[in-house]
Symmetry: C2
Subunit: 132 residues, 2 copies
């Protein structure tokens, strides 16, 4: 199996459910943005196999902790995740409620001049809201 090693190396047992979720998330041409609900639907459509909602939540959180997924900071009643773990930014189309990737190269270099004592910068994320 393609993802067995990856999971083992992270200390996660390569269960059937995790391997299937890996397929849905990572066996794609392109990266994508999703909510838990989106993912549950994708799983239903792509696999002939039910995975319990609790497991989907557990797995997504486990993958996020291991750095295989990122949460996208946005105001929505649902949490958005990203299979694109490269350092990048987002457009948010307010009308369509859709996220669009914005590569680092599409944003000038960002230089944070203010420093907070005893704290390090972990990430710098830009959200560009779009209207018509």
């Amino acid at each position: 199996m393609k993802y067995t090693e990856k999971l083992r190396n992270s200390g996660l047992r390569p269960t059937k459910q995790r391997l299937q979720i890996c397929e849905v998330l990572f066996d794609t041409e392109r990266t994508f943005h999703f909510t838990i609900n989106d993912l549950v639907n994708k799983i239903k459509k792509q696999l002939n196999n039910k995975i319990s909602l609790a497991t989907v939540y557990n797995t997504v959180h486990a993958f996020e902790k291991k750095g295989y997924l990122k949460q996208i900071p946005i105001n929505s009643n649902q949490t958005y995740f990203d299979t694109n773990i490269a350092d990048h930014h987002h457009f948010y189309d307010l009308k369509e409620e859709k996220l669009i990737d914005l590569e680092n190269s599409d944003v000038g270099p960002i230089n944070i001049l203010k420093k907070i004592d005893g704290k390090k910068i972990k990430s710098v994320e830009v959200l560009v809201k779009l209207e018509d």
Copy 2:
């Protein structure tokens, strides 16, 4: 009353509740970040007067729509609002779960090079996550 005109001009009737919430939100030296729960507590402490939770939600949303408050895009189970409606950015201290203002002047100019057809940029917000 200090805020009566402001409310009338926005098409909002200057009710006792709205005027009191204005006091709590805008009669301050400094701007601040808050959740609905924070605001309810502030109201309890500062006014000898109960305002129902539904009214707090209604009022905050009304003020946001009128541009007197801004929502801050962040991943939390609660929605964060900001009384600082000037164009600015945020640090988010992951350990303390606290927001810190980051003035535009503390961030180099941000130039979004990618354009989305038929859409205009409404806002550009930077979130800088801090760790120890």
